[in-house]
């Protein structure tokens, strides 16, 4: 329902506004780093894979302008792209295809736009996943996504909670974040890149050491949730909001 607001000084408004909703003057973007001609800095890709509220709120908390969108032209126009997601891989891939987002995804990565994958978003940019009986994925990172198979029945699946991330390289997105800091994870499958040069950070769980951060060039992807990882996660997002996509 549209709410028609009451203005005490109605007569002082131009005739064309009377009886209508007052046109909203958009405030200037809160991010002082932004000076481009496009309307927003960060596109959060919406492909119906889970709740994007926490990602949006985390970006708002650091004053980064963002938009949740599934419009390929908006994604291609963005200065940076975040590819989040929780849920099942097969459904995520189906949604990406239906919304015709596979090509825009590949383009933003190949043209050097700073790109941040989170959780399921990180998993579906691999070549394939074991989830849902095996699903071919986007293929931006060589390798597969595998299921945890711990020998100890007390090792719970999903991994849910805070675990440490050992940084394998010095990366602009790790700036100001101590090596071995804890981040918040929720997942039953883990990324297994076939090219070790993609491994940026590692974490131990279920009898193995897996790549909890992968990336190359302008692509950076985490298995954990930076938007749920307290001040340290926020620091990573803040680094991302300033990153030029170079390492």
């Amino acid at each position: 329902m549209r709410v028609i607001q009451f203005y005490p000084f109605l007569n002082s408004y131009p005739r064309r506004w009377v009886g209508r909703v007052r046109p909203v003057q958009r405030p200037p973007l809160p991010n002082p780093r932004f000076s481009g001609s496009i309307e927003y800095v960060i596109a959060i890709i919406d492909y119906n894979a889970g709740n994007l509220t926490s990602v949006r709120l985390a970006l708002e908390a650091i004053g980064a302008a963002c938009e949740v969108t599934s419009d390929p032209s908006r994604i291609l126009a963005a200065e940076r792209v975040i590819f989040p997601g929780v849920g099942a891989a097969a459904e995520a891939m189906r949604n990406l295809r239906e919304r015709q987002l596979l090509e825009p995804l590949r383009s933003v990565v190949s043209n050097g736009t700073p790109f941040l994958g989170i959780c399921l978003g990180t998993q579906v940019i691999f070549e394939s996943t074991e989830e849902d009986g095996g699903v071919p994925c986007v293929g931006l990172v060589p390798g597969t996504v595998k299921r945890f198979t711990p020998s100890d029945p007390m090792c719970k699946i999903p991994q849910m909670g805070w675990n440490t991330v050992e940084q394998r390289v010095a990366h602009p997105l790790f700036e100001g974040i101590e090596d071995g800091s804890e981040f918040y994870f929720v997942h039953s499958y883990y990324p297994a890149p076939s090219d070790a040069s993609y491994i940026l950070g590692e974490t131990d769980y279920a009898d193995l050491r897996f790549a909890s951060v992968v990336g190359k060039g302008s692509l950076f992807a985490t298995q954990f949730h930076p938007e749920r990882s307290g001040r340290i996660g926020l620091k990573l997002l803040d680094n991302f909001s300033r990153w030029d996509g170079k390492c």
Binding site: T53, S54, L57, E60, M154, E182, V186, R231
Partner: protein
Amino acid sequence: MLTKRIIPCLDVRNKKVTKGVKFQNNIDLGDPVEMAVAYSDGGCDELVFYDITASAERRPIDIEMVREVARAVRIPFAVGGGIETLDDMYRALLAGAEKVSVNSLAVTNPAIIAEGAKVFGSQCIVLGMDPVRTDGAAFPSGYEVTIRGFRERTGLDALEWAKRAEELGVGEIVVNSVDADGTRDGFELNLTSMISTAVRIPVVASGGAGTPQHLVDVFNQGRADAAIIASMIHTGEYTIAQIKAELAAAGVPVRKKW
């Protein structure tokens, strides 16, 4: 290494955090958003909010509060109380909650947790259960599940119900011992370890935390993956940093930087 989670529980009544003993004699403690920020800055790993009067007043959960908390803290939090339908779950998650906790509803309508897990993902759906000690022969585990804040017995065996909930697709189980709730005499270790060893999903122990040693015990003997605390920090007797320091000294892995 995955760390053990410390989760402050904020029972909310009339927009104020409150605390009672065995679900009675509640006193007001403060503003939920301010307390959430204080605990989050203090190093807690997660938060849980129960809108404890929502069910009784037959209204949905206070979404405005969920929204404010989501804006204020950057750690995961679960909400419960007044979740009756898939739509209620959706609105709480959209407002920024990481998880929704269902308790009485799961017993009266188990299909809703299965559906919720399917639609929103298992990790969003937490089963809360309030088991009470019983010696009836009908309960092999020795515990019976109660609902509506211990006011109603269900005839369900706690262990059977936990396994059933795992099959239905919940992502986590909060086991809140009615006998230990608010007593600060320690967790019900038998109950926690019995359920935690029987399921593959994380189990959160709740009820009875009074000292850091109680937490050491619930992680070691109780085999819990996370523990809920309330009175011991609400009263200011302990800080989360103190609790974590004692846990770390006892060899329990905890998150050290925040």
